[in-house]
């Protein structure tokens, strides 16, 4: 196996693969954030906490009632989504008319409260979650060894992202969503219940965060802090991709994961900041983000 710039190929490919896995989480989470921002005009700071909630619900389902991974893959996002719907109905929708800052502060507070709640009940230590047996084992690819579960995460994330993108860009429902983003009162005058659509959108996107949490449970330790570690990077991804751009946030999510992986290989000490360096450069050159429309 050859070396590239003094780095063994095996190590390089391993890091790219790891980057793609992180990128998968970035993509699913930033996709939801971008849609919520586009439709509701809300910067959903609670997204990381809801991702954590998805992972915790998955863990709780298994450890208390023995509900397995495959069922949790559907049930946990639904529980998180329903929680989001309740929050939107009770609180968030009253904040649409006022400055962004209020909903940002509200969701930030919600994130702290959720984290605190889970920490109070379950403690800070990470909980292990077993890889489902159907996805145990590894693929021996010759140049590297890829755990089956990690391959599954990438595939599942890409499928979900592409499906959501197709719904938004190619269907009638998607056209309603895009139109309501532009001119909600006219869409209402056409006979569409926009407030209901906003509620369901929030519920769905928050459910996506929960879905990412389920995917994460067997890889990362399930812990109350897992969301806040991730959410800052995900916000950087959304900014780089362009706020409100759906396709942009998916592509940016995956590619930034890879960039992060490559940085880990070639200059490890920069790997934690590389995404923010990219963000700074993008903001200087294209303030609306790579895929954002110039205002």
């Amino acid at each position: 196996m050859p070396d590239i710039f003094g780095v063994p190929m095996v190590v390089l490919l391993g890091q790219i693969m790891l980057g793609l896995i992180n990128g998968s989480f970035y993509a699913v989470l930033s996709l939801g954030l971008a849609i919520i921002f586009g439709m509701l005009n809300v910067i959903n700071f609670a997204h990381g906490a809801l991702y954590m909630m998805g992972a915790f619900v998955t863990w709780i389902l298994l450890s208390t009632v023995g509900i397995n991974y495959w069922t949790a893959l559907f049930v946990a996002p639904m529980i998180v989504g329903l929680f989001g719907i309740v929050i939107e109905r009770l609180a968030l929708r009253h904040l649409y008319k006022v400055d962004h800052l209020y909903s940002l502060l509200f969701t930030f507070g919600m994130a702290l409260a959720l984290e605190g709640l889970f920490r109070y009940i379950y403690g800070s230590a990470g909980k292990p979650y077993p890889v489902p047996e159907q996805l145990a084992g590894v693929f021996k690819l010759g140049f590297m060894i890829l755990p089956v579960y990690r391959a599954w995460v990438i595939v599942a994330a890409v499928i979900v992202c592409v499906a959501v993108w197709l719904v938004i860009e190619k269907t009638r429902l998607g056209a309603w969503l895009r139109a309501a983003t532009e001119n909600p009162s006219l869409v209402t005058a056409f006979g569409i219940n926009v407030p209901l659509m906003l509620t369901l959108t929030y519920g769905f996107c928050v459910g996506l965060a929960g879905f990412a949490g389920v995917l994460a449970a067997p890889i990362y330790q399930v812990s109350p802090g897992m969301g806040s570690n991730l959410i800052i990077v995900v916000f950087a991804v959304v900014v780089i991709g362009g706020l409100g751009s759906i396709g942009g946030s998916i592509l940016t999510g995956l590619s930034l994961g890879v960039i992060e992986g490559l940085t880990k290989t070639f200059y490890p000490s920069a790997s934690t900041i590389v995404i923010f360096v990219v963000m700074a450069i993008v903001l200087i050159i294209r303030p609306a983000g790579l895929f954002g429309r110039e205002a």
Binding site: A175, A179, E182, N183, S185, L186, A189, G191, I192, V194
Partner: protein, 234 residues
């Protein structure tokens, strides 16, 4: 008894603190084309937005086919058959022409097919994949009218369809309006262009300071168009 489709009595509405409609009263009969004439700021557009429920702070009476519009949630108004073509046309820039066209849900049977629409507005044919706002102003106006016709709405609120359009396009719009009228649709038309209004309408209401201040039959106005001048200040 006459066949009133819309009865408006002592209608008031507000944008926040500012009181715009000050007790307007008028009616529209089935199959009629009625205009609202008046200066800028007289409350014509606000009247439409108030009837559609876009303006929520309102008081008085507005009844369409026996249904109280003021008690109807805004997303249900369209289902009563009321179709809205707003002044700024409301073509969506994130949607293609085809997507714009099919955006409003069908509200009643009897709407036009896409084929009929292309016959009425040949300019829209073959433009399906164009971004809605890349169309010319006249074409956007046609699209805004066309998407309402597809829904089967039979009472149409048209806000200044000729504003800023070239005379040849205005003629196209007038022809289309004639077609709609012969189909038996009921229409309220807000218009600044009096000549256009008298070519299309049955009756005319004059608005001033949020009230209906006068009414003319089309014949009366055509006989002496200067009657309106005092109101319009021209």
């Amino acid at each position: 008894m006459t066949d009133h489709r819309l009865e408006v009595e002592d209608l008031h509405s507000w944008y926040g603190e500012s009181h715009i409609l000050h007790g307007a009263s008028f009616h529209v009969n089935r199959g009629e084309v009625v205009t609202l004439l008046g200066r800028n700021g007289a409350g014509k557009t606000t009247m439409m937005r108030t009837l559609m429920g876009v303006v929520r702070q309102r008081k008085g009476k507005a009844v369409l086919d026996g249904t109280d519009l003021l008690a109807t949630p805004p997303h249900r108004v369209a289902k009563l058959g009321l179709g809205y073509v707003p002044e700024e046309r409301g073509i969506f820039s994130s949607l293609t022409v085809a997507e714009n066209l099919v955006l409003p849900p069908i509200v009643k049977p009897g709407g036009m097919s896409i084929e009929d629409i292309h016959k009425l507005f040949p300019n829209l044919k073959g433009r399906d994949r164009t971004i809605g706002t890349r169309l010319s102003g006249g074409e956007q106006q046609m699209l805004a009218i066309a998407r309402i016709l597809r829904t089967g709405a039979d009472f149409i609120l048209l806000d200044e369809p000729t504003e800023g359009l070239a005379p040849v396009i205005v003629d196209d719009i007038a022809r289309a309006l004639g077609t709609l009228r012969s189909m038996g649709l009921t229409i309220i038309l807000v218009e600044q262009n009096t000549r256009f209004a008298t070519n299309c309408a049955d009756r005319h209401y004059v608005m001033d300071q949020g009230r209906i201040v006068d009414e003319f039959s089309n014949d009366a106005l055509r006989a002496d168009i200067s009657k309106i001048d005092a109101y319009l200040g021209v």
